[in-house]
Symmetry: C2
Subunit: 127 residues, 2 copies
């Protein structure tokens, strides 16, 4: 696949991520990750595998009143069926807006879909 095509697939994955958050579809959100993905949230242990990731997002979104996640790619590098993306996200939480940066390793899965395989983020400085 060309880098442009991978970039488009990642854009589409990020769009679906935001949509799943907005409609509180945590099974759909977990389905954007590979089966053996790892999510590494701030102030929490590493979350491994789709069922645990679904539960994490459901619990975290409820706890923080998260109703929107707008993801913006800063750069992507592609290596075969793997890509890694640096990005920034604007989260709409019960307490207001939060801005984070993230590093995601994407994998092209057996069905050809690009999915999040490693996902970690932390806070941007307050404005």
């Amino acid at each position: 696949m060309s880098s442009d095509a991978v970039r488009q697939a990642i854009d589409e994955g990020n769009r679906q991520f935001g949509e799943a958050v907005a409609r509180k579809d945590y099974a759909g959100l977990a389905g954007l990750y590979t089966e053996n993905a790892r999510v590494m949230p701030p102030d929490a242990p590493i979350v491994s595998g789709r069922p645990a990731i679904e539960e994490f997002w459901r619990t975290a979104a409820n706890a923080f009143g998260m109703t929107d996640a707008a993801l913006r790619t800063v750069d992507v590098e592609v290596v075969g069926d793997t890509a890694y993306e640096v990005g920034e996200a604007q989260l709409t939480l019960g307490s207001g807006q939060a801005k984070v940066k993230y590093l995601v390793v994407w994998r092209r899965d057996r069905d050809g879909t690009w999915r999040l395989h490693r996902d970690i983020w932390n806070n941007m400085p307050p404005n």
Copy 2:
């Protein structure tokens, strides 16, 4: 290169990272990163390129009284000249011990050395 050889190169890189921190050698620390690496520290903007990374570590290590960083790999996956590592680190700071988890993308550089190319971390939960 075999995965085992890459794993050894990453172990060696992590050992050198801890040594550079311990001897406050921030030029040496920056030299473990690729020229166009990005470091993504919590509560701070993205730091891009070796000179900025050297300055970041000097400033952060002084601000937090960091005297040791013990890195432990949780898993590594290798894709050609790229590898991504999930790990945990125990940091010795002026305020005491801090435990973080990290995701690092490593690149095999033109001189054959594996260097950190993307580096992000966040806190583990308090014990």
